[in-house]
């Protein structure tokens, strides 16, 4: 990753956290002074390097892991915003990235019951829950949206 792409990646994440949503290429262009086409080209390189994930069709930001640009079943309240995480791991990751306590709301995929977990001082307030990953680490990026 070259210095320019690294800086653009960091601006993308900073703006995501500031706005509480995924920034557009136009917003990154305005923030950095780089042409929108340059922003999109850098995003493509960052996507290839798994530094962020672009939507397969629109090529807009789909994930700035652990943040999701689209609504998911993993909702997180933290640092004054509502966020969506890409998975259960990322839900805790949002609290970690923001260095904030939070409240995670999701549902059990088996029974559909709501699961609500508070995170305080980096600890979950309900330790009875469990986390399952179907996909092993070697294949996480084969299909990151499925993972």
């Amino acid at each position: 990753m070259n210095d320019g792409d690294l800086a653009l990646r960091n601006t993308t994440y900073t703006l995501f956290a500031r706005l509480g949503r995924a920034p557009t290429a136009a917003e990154i262009s305005s923030e950095t002074g780089r042409a929108e086409a340059d922003v999109r080209a850098a995003w493509e390189r960052l996507h290839e390097q798994h530094a962020l994930v672009l939507d397969a069709e629109t090529r807009e930001i789909r994930m700035a892991n652990p943040f999701s640009a689209v609504a998911t079943p993993h909702r997180v309240e933290a640092a004054g915003h509502v966020w969506y995480a890409n998975c259960g791991w990322d839900a805790f990751g949002i609290c970690a990235a923001l260095h904030a306590d939070g409240r995670i709301a999701t549902t059990c995929p088996d029974c559909g019951d709501p699961l609500v977990i508070g995170v305080h001082d980096r600890r979950p307030d309900d330790e009875s829950l469990v986390f399952h990953s179907l996909v092993d680490a070697a294949h996480w990026w084969d299909d990151i949206v499925f993972t």
Partner: protein, 69 residues
Amino acid sequence: MNLFRSEEHIARWLAGRTPGTTITVSKLCELAHAWWSDRLSPGWRPRSRSESQAILDRLGLTGPFWRLP
């Protein structure tokens, strides 16, 4: 990658599929903080594979399932 009410719920949800791996929510939270806490840091840089693997190893997440490519 989902949270479940209990291991019984996972078994029912799998419905005969090959299971992946299950960890406690406490371990997950620990992993999340080790893995993601630098993502908004101005000094963020990409981690190498060995650095990422070291995080998993340090948390006791070892074995073939947790082996990065």
